[in-house]
Structures are given as structure tokens and as C-alpha cells.
């Protein structure tokens, strides 16, 4: 679907209203191919809405979202979603599918052949550090939280999408597992070169994973820049988040 494996995501003057409430206003972001953008902000700042605009679960009220240079309204939305990996905090694994079936979901929707799916599933499990013989046939309710999220990431990567959108995927895990997954994810992304938009409310995580960090506040993007640029920001919301860095986590 995409000509190259390197795809950009762009928000051009995007606003989003629902039920006469303004959720996002005049967003302008350009995410480079292969970049990790972490979106930081309080609950309700509009971060999840940004993600939903990328895979066309919702449409902008004003402005355009462009994937690979083409606006989302001109992409076939089913095709678009199959080419964007999706990882959420609750994992959303299908309880009636085993691990292999969960991971193989998008490949099977795309009608890959059975042997191709099987080998890809094995590959993905290995990529996220799970033994395929041990875990392939297990069901989600037999896995720990950390294992489930690894499967979630494996599932998102299975069809080799150029873009990943992730909504606080590690927030529900214990700090040790969380750190582990953060480290492994960073290494993985560097290796695969995916374009990633990663939503979090944890400033440590935002700094660790992001090439650039965007700060959302009440539906507006108030800062956007590298870690150093962020630390120099004078915006009160940014200062508030930075203050949290001094507290033990």
C-alpha cells in the first residue's frame, strides 16, 4: 500500500469538536519517517484523540491528517488501519483467540497463506522475547500483564506496518516490567525504523523513548521539540511536568 517503508504523518491545522465541545484545536505536527514522537499530557488533554485521527477512527472537524502525504479521507480506511499497528493499555487481545491467533490477526485478514502466517508469528514472538513453543498455544488469560503486552506489540508488528500508534501501552505494568519493555521497545524501534506516535503521561518515558516530545494541554500542542528543547521551555504546563522529574518514581 505504501510505496516505501518510510512514511510520514502530518497534522495540518487540525481541529476536532464533538457535541459542540472543542477537543483539539489547530494542531500542526509533522512527524518524520522513522521518528518516534511521544505525546505527553494530562488525562483529557486530547492525546488519545490525536491517535484516533491517525487511523481514521474519527475525522477532523477542520484541517487534514496526512499519512504518507495523502489525506486520511482519501485512503480506504480498512486498508489504512491494517497498515497502522495499534497497541493500547488494556492490550485488547481477543480472549477467545490463542497467542498465535491474536498475533496472526492482521495477516489473516490480509489473507496470507497459512505457512507464511505461522512463520511470521514465530518470528514476532522471538522479536518480543517470548518462546513460541511455550507461548504460541496459550490464551491471554494464562499470561502475565507483561507477557500480554509483549503479545500486543507482536500483534501490532505482525503485518509489518510502517506506522505504530501506541496509547499508554506500559502504564498498567509494574515498574520493573515497564522498564524492561521500554528498553526492549526502544531497541526494537531502532532496528525496524518504524514511525511511532506514542502517548504517555509519564515524562520519564516520554524522554526515554521519544526523538521529539510533544506536550498537549487542553487540546493544544503547547511545546514540540527534543528533550533539551523541552527542558528549556517556559510554558507553565511544561514546567509542571518537569517538576515531577524531581520526585522519586
Amino acid at each position: 500500500m505504501f510505496e516505501s517503508q518510510n512514511v510520514s504523518v502530518e497534522f495540518s491545522d487540525v481541529s476536532f469538536d464533538i457535541n459542540h465541545r472543542n477537543i483539539l484545536s489547530r494542531l500542526n505536527i509533522r512527524i518524520q519517517e522513522g521518528e518516534v514522537l511521544t505525546l505527553l499530557g494530562r488525562s483529557g488533554s486530547g492525546k488519545t484523540t490525536v491517535l484516533k485521527l491517525i487511523n481514521h477512527l474519527i475525522q477532523p472537524t477542520k484541517g487534514e491528517v496526512l499519512i504518507g502525504g495523502r489525506t486520511t479521507t482519501r485512503w480506504n480506511e480498512i486498508e489504512l488501519r491494517r497498515n497502522i499497528g495499534y497497541v493500547i493499555q488494556e492490550t485488547g487481545l481477543f480472549p477467545h483467540f490463542n497467542v498465535s491467533q491474536n498475533i496472526g490477526l492482521v495477516p489473516s485478514l490480509q489473507k496470507w497463506t497459512k505457512p507464511k502466517i505461522e512463520s511470521r508469528v514465530r518470528e514476532m514472538l522471538e522479536l518480543v522475547g517470548l518462546d513460541s513453543k511455550l507461548f504460541g498455544q496459550r490464551y491471554p488469560d494464562e499470561l502475565s500483564g507483561g507477557q500480554r503486552q509483549r503479545v500486543g506489540v507482536a500483534r501490532a508488528l505482525a503485518a509489518d506496518p510502517p506506522i505504530l500508534i501506541m496509547d499508554e501501552p506500559f502504564a498498567a505494568l509494574d515498574p520493573i516490567t515497564r522498564l524492561e519493555l521500554q528498553q526492549q521497545f526502544r531497541a526494537l524501534q531502532r532496528m525496524l525504523g518504524k514511525t511511532v506516535i506514542f502517548v504517555t503521561h509519564d515524562i520519564q518515558e516520554a524522554f526515554y523513548l521519544g526523538n521529539r516530545i510533544g506536550l498537549m494541554h487542553e487540546g493544544k500542542l503547547v511545546t514540540l521539540g527534543t528533550r533539551d528543547e523541552f527542558l528549556k521551555s517556559s510554558h507553565p504546563e511544561a514546567r509542571a511536568f518537569i517538576a515531577c522529574l524531581d520526585y522519586p518514581t
Binding site: I78, I88, T91, G92, F94, F97, L105, L109, R155
Partner: protein
Amino acid sequence: MFAFFNQYAQEILLHTGEHLILVVSAMVAAIIMGIPLGIFITRKPQYASLVLGIANILQTIPSLAIFGILISVPYLGGIGKAPAIVALILYALLPLIRNTYIGIQTIDPAIRNTGKAMGMTDWQLLVQVDLPLASATILSGVRVATVISVGIATIAAAIGGGGLGVFIFRGIATVNNQLILAGAIPSALIALAVDYSLGLLEKRLMQRSSRRMKIRRRSAIIWGVVTTAIIAGIVFLGWQTPPQIIIGSKNFTEQVILGEILAQQIESNTNLKVDRRFNLGGTFICHEAVKAGQISGYVEYTGTAFTAVLKQNPISDSQAVYSKVKQDYAQNFNLEVFPSLGFNNTFAITIRAEDAKRYQLKTISDTAKYTEQWQAGFGYEFLERADGYKGLAKTYGLKFAKPPRQMELGLMYEALAKKQVDLIAGDSTNGLIPVLDLFILQDDKKYFPPYQAVPIFNRQILQKYPEVSMAIAKLEGLISNEEMQKMNYAVDKEKIPVETVVKNWLKSHSL
């Protein structure tokens, strides 16, 4: 008890087969309509309250009422299996729609949103996520709907739909416990069997729905084949070739006897196959049915035809009543009214003999002074009809302490004897009157019109089978009041099967 089963085994099998056909046809149709509707309102929730509301109302309407309403509806209605199945479908819809809707709505939204976000089309979401995860709940709805259907299908007999209710109604009308049980026990067993087996399936699905998507194919196929084989076997064993003549009757012993007389007379005098639809829910149902040709004929009473059907004011000249009925039925309904069978079964205002002696009561006028302390019991037709309670009370100035109790005809006489009621509107040929020491009050003001028993047949069917007319014509004037009373007594009190009583009577008249 065993003798009973031996004698009725074929009939029990036949009606069980009918019952299963009613339930299975209705459930298949209801599932085909209900589950997609349930799915539809999960996709378009703005219609949810409308759809669920309608289904809820349908289920709230009492089942007998729905059967009654359907009688007058063209095409779908009338009597017989079709309206019964329609009513069963309407009843099954609510659990099916509601459980499908709830089953899907209560799936964790994170799962459904993820499915959508990963690029599943709505159809893929439905088939791979919604239905498997909702399957236990949906099946629970199927189970509830089926068990309800098995129960309600017993009422189908009241409108000639067959099924195990035939035994129950017949047993109530003739006060025969064995017959009632012959209908009630198999229906209860069917309901239990359905509930148990679907319950097993539900349990398996609940364990697996959160885990496995596929029920093991092989065991599912085996179950399906076995169930179909059992149902098909029962239906086949009970199946009979479609009858050419169908005789109906109203819902009390004398009517069943007369219907049986018509049926056996046709069977012994012609080569035609005769089916019986006895214990239909009343005059109105029989009339509509014979007009529509859903039954070929039944025995009516001239007074009833005159006042209740033709809505004339009652008169006492029996010849005039007969002529008018014969003429109007032919002209307006294309129905043939045969000559009277010989007896006059008028409404008999009946009290206990001891009361008659104590208060020196001979006529209804005599009784008018005492009724204020009494409780009356009447059948629902007597209460509704113009020639019934209203007119009687007006003519004789009758007043009762409490409004009359509405009762089943078969139970009235015992209730009177047991002092549960003090005055009833029975019928003058009833066999229990002499036996229970009851007394018929004279209709001194000649309020009731004559009620001569006449066979009524659908003319189109007579044209097709003229031999039927010849057979029925032979019955003219053959049954006296005493003979009718004796036959009623034989069935009601001596518990001799109707078929035997009728056979003996026909033999005695060398028919």
C-alpha cells in the same frame, strides 16, 4: 394406566409429533428473524428501544389473547397450525433479540475497538469477535425462547393447531385426568429435555467462548444429526396422510360426542379419510373455521346460530328459527344446515335438588326471590351472548350478591353439587344432572330460544364430496333427548371412551 397408554399410544405419538413441528418451525423462523434483528440494533442503537419495546409488548400480551386476535387476520390467521406458529414466533422474539443485543453489547469495548482499529470490517468483527463472544448469551436466549414455546404450544389446540394441548383441553372438557396428563406429561418432558440439552451446550460455550472459537466440529455434527433424527422419527411415526374431511366440535362432552358421530358416520359410509379437531375454543372459532373450510363441518344449535351468529332477538318458534338459520347460512356464508338430529339442548338453569325442595322452586320466576343470596356460575359464552346472562337477568329480574363466576363447562356441575356455586346455566341434555341430584328450573317466561342440534357443513366441500351429504342426511331425527343424556352420562360419569359410546350408538341404530 398402562392400558391407557396402549390405547392412546399412536395418538400420543401423533400429537407429540405435531407439538414438535409447531415448536421447531416457530423457533427456526424466530431465530432467523430475531438474531439478525438483535445484531441490527447493536449496529444502529438508535433503534434499540423501539425494537426491544415492540418485542416486549408482544410478549406481554397473554398468549390466549394473541391466538384470539390472530383468528380474524387474513392469510396468517384463522385456525390451524399457521396462526399457532405465528403466535409462537411472536413470543419467541423478545428473548432472542434481547439476548443477542445484550450479548454483544456486554463484550469488553476495548476488544471491539481494537478489532476495528486493526482493520476488521464490520462483517469480520461480527463473525470473528461479536458472535463467538456473545454465543453463550445468545444460546441462553434460544433456550428460554424454546422452553416458552413448548409451553405455549399447548394452547395451539384451542384453535385447532394440534399438539399435546389436544389432550389437555379434551381432558378438561370431559373431566378426565388421564387425558390431561397424557398431554401435560409429554410437554413437560419435552420442555425439560430442551432446557437440559441446551443448558449443557451453553455451559460448554461459556467455558470455551473466552478461550476457543470452534466447538469441536465432529461432536457438533453428531449432536445435530441425533437431534434431527429423533425429531424426524417422532414426526414420521405420528404422521398421517392429509385428511379429506375434518370434523370440528366445541369444547364440551356433548359436542365431542356429536362430532364423533359425524366423523364415524362418514367413515363407515364413505371411503373418505376423516380427521377430528375437537375442543375448539367456542362457537365463534367453529363458525369462522367452517366458513373458511378449515373444518368441513360441526354440530351447531339453532338457537345459538340464530342469536349469537345471526344476531337476531330470541324467539320461541323452533320451526321459524330453523328456517331462518338454514336460509341465512346458505345465503350469507355458503354453509349447508342439515335437518335436526332430534333433540333440543336448551340452556338449563340448574340448581341443587335439595334447594328446589326446600324452597319449593319449580320455575326460574320462583327462584328470582332467592338469588340475592346465591353465587352463580356461568360459561364464558353464556356470559357474552345476547341470549345469555344479560337477557335472562333482565327478563326475570335476577339479582345476585356477587357477579357470576366464569367457569369451564365441564366443571360446572361438580361445582354446583359441591356447593361452590348455587346456580348454573348448564345444558338440558347433560348426563350429570340426574346423577348429581340436580334440578332444572322451568323457563316459564320462555326466554330461551329453541336449540335444536343441526350439522353444519361447508358447501364447497359438500360439492366436492357429495357422499358426505348422503351419510349425514341419514342421521336426521335419530337422537332423542334421553339418548343424548345417556351418551353424555356414559362419557362423563362412566368414563367410557367417546369412540366406543358412539360406535355402540351407531350400531344400535344399524348405521
